[in-house]
């Protein structure tokens, strides 16, 4: 149809789509799903790190971690706002998260067991997130692209901070280095899984590519992450937990082992170590906070009425 043709042409010409522009319903829906999933990930992602804020080992590290989590709440806000431009409310999005209908990144269903996990999450998880997100700064939907620009700037800061934690641990006592290695062992594979199923199994990618809301394939991005991270691990003196990992002179990339997709699918299905806790923590926060939100609304309404009465 003509509208769709014009719409696709704008995208092909690199013109941003804005909230008030016409767009195909499928484009709107896909974007809402993608942006809200991303927003939910920021919000749920506060929890595994929040688990160590009260136990951060120094006041400075505590400040940095707290500020990082605060940034994540901020990212959640930008992204919910971006989703709202597509005609859905934050409350509706949260309801979908709480009911289990909407997803968030599976990586946050793993537990944070030592302080080194704060390093590994920054380094590997934020590192992977950035690789995923940088292309989205150029995606076709304007509000999303602009939100991603802000997000990426802060994320790269977080990734550096995470690496700095790892560096301190690796230069520290043998126990600290062991902690760092253990964290790498536990977070390596889940971080690779963050890029999603391999291209062969990935659905819906073609349409998303055409719409320019998916700019690289999962496997391309995953390879980029491996290539970028392995030398960093070497610099730390840590061993990547993959016996098949080796540099390939021909491809000029690292070859790496087979991902355990059964584990990936299980975590996705709700069987990760912390799926239950994460969702419950969010639902509890929301439900416990109902009186607070309602109270503020009640006050605002009273003020409105008073203003109206004063004006009358």
């Amino acid at each position: 149809d003509e509208q769709e043709r014009v719409f696709q042409q704008r995208i092909d010409e690199g013109i941003k789509i804005e909230a008030k522009d016409w767009m195909p319903e499928a484009y709107r829906k896909t974007l809402i799903r993608q942006i809200s999933q991303h927003a939910h990930s920021e919000i749920v992602g506060q929890l595994p790190e929040g688990n160590w804020v009260t136990r951060a080992p120094t006041l400075k590290r505590k400040s940095i971690l707290l500020a990082k989590i605060q940034d994540e709440a901020g990212h959640g806000l930008y992204l919910y706002s971006a989703a709202e431009t597509l005609g859905v409310s934050r409350d509706q999005l949260l309801a979908d998260l709480h009911s289990g209908k909407a997803k968030y990144s599976s990586i946050f269903n793993y537990p944070t067991l030592t302080w080194a996990d704060m390093g590994a999450i920054g380094w590997l998880v934020d590192g992977s997130a950035i690789i995923n997100q940088i292309p989205l700064c150029r995606c076709s939907y304007g509000p999303y692209a602009r939100a991603m620009i802000r997000v990426c700037k802060e994320e790269s800061f977080h990734a550096r901070q995470g690496y700095d934690i790892m560096l301190s641990l690796c230069r520290g006592t043998p126990e600290q280095k062991q902690m760092a290695q253990d964290a790498l062992n536990r977070w390596w594979w889940p971080s690779l899984m963050m890029f999603g199923p391999s291209d062969a199994l990935s659905v819906n990618s073609a349409q998303s590519s055409a719409w320019r809301i998916k700019l690289f394939s999962n496997d391309e991005l995953r390879q980029k992450m491996v290539d970028q991270t392995v030398p960093q691990a070497e610099y730390l003196g840590l061993t990547v937990p993959d016996p098949d990992l080796k540099w390939n002179e021909q491809t000029q990339h690292y070859d790496f082992g087979e991902i355990d997709w059964e584990e990936f699918n299980n975590v996705l299905k709700g069987n990760g170590p912390c799926n239950r806790e994460r969702l419950r923590a969010r639902v509890k926060a929301y439900e416990d906070g109902a009186w607070f939100r309602d109270g503020l609304v009640a006050h605002a309404e009273k003020q409105e009425r008073r203003k109206a009465q004063a004006a009358a």
């Binding site: 080992p57 709440a73 006592t173 600290q176 503020l296």
Partner: protein, 251 residues
């Protein structure tokens, strides 16, 4: 008397540390994203202040203890914070009530400390005052909106404010350390903060349609002298774990 000044600085630092620790327990669990961010903000300001006060206390002591040795390697009986700030988070209303009482006092105190005869204290107070004036505005504003909000939010705020009232007396009760500081012009006469505190708190209560608890109610005390409630020990066990379990490590 550097010893008295050292003790006094620990009180300022410990208040900030313990309260920021409590606030950071809310991390990711607040009633709205905006609240999560605001609480983190307040916690971060307090952490920053704690670090200044600890560093100065460490220098005065001259025993080579840095901010982390102060925060992570003292047991509960050496902590000098007010009982108020160590009280558990409870509901968000409890957290707000605790914050409101503290913020107003903290603001009044820092305002006076900007005129301290100790220039370093005056400078830190100056910097902190900007932050804390925002804290006090924010918590006062929320008390008004929730007090004069729904029936439920009104009841919850009233209950929370009543509940914590008995921990506010200590803020205005000078002991030997406070008196020594006042005599040297380093800190204000604590008792002199009571009237303006009551006035401000009373105005907020009134705007919030809340009832002020009786001024002459029985008050708990002991925090400034290291006699705490049973809550502080648990807070510290959690907070200090890594420094205790891996002595001497650099993080």
């Amino acid at each position: 008397m550097p010893d008295q000044k050292f003790s006094y600085l620990l009180r300022l630092a410990d208040n900030a540390t313990v309260l920021s620790q409590r606030l950071s327990e809310w991390c990711g669990k607040g009633p709205a994203l905006e609240e999560d961010m605001a609480l983190s903000n307040v916690a971060l300001d307090l952490l920053g202040q704690a670090r200044f006060w600890y560093s100065y206390a460490g220098e005065i002591e001259g025993a080579g203890r840095d901010e982390d040795a102060m925060a992570f390697l003292r047991d509960a009986h050496d902590f000098r914070n007010l009982l108020l700030v160590e009280q558990p988070n409870g509901t968000y209303a409890d957290t707000l009530a605790r914050q409101f009482y503290f913020d107003v006092w903290h603001f009044l105190l820092l305002q006076k400390l900007t005129a301290s005869t100790d220039p370093r204290i005056a400078a830190v107070a100056e910097k902190s005052l900007k932050e804390v004036s925002y804290h006090a505005r924010r918590s006062g504003d929320l008390v008004v909106r929730l007090g004069d909000g729904s029936e439920q939010s009104h009841a919850m705020m009233q209950a929370a404010l009543d509940e914590l009232w008995m921990y506010t007396g200590e803020m205005f009760q000078p002991d030997a350390t406070d008196e020594a500081m006042a005599a040297q012009g380093i800190a204000p006469d604590l008792a002199s903060l009571r009237a303006p505190w009551l006035k401000h708190v009373g105005e907020v209560f009134s705007e919030a349609t809340l009832v002020l608890p009786p001024e002459n109610a029985w008050m708990q005390k002991g925090g400034k002298q290291g006699v705490h409630t049973e809550h502080l020990g648990y807070l510290l066990a959690e907070m200090q774990f890594l420094q205790r379990a891996y002595p001497g490590a650099t993080w």
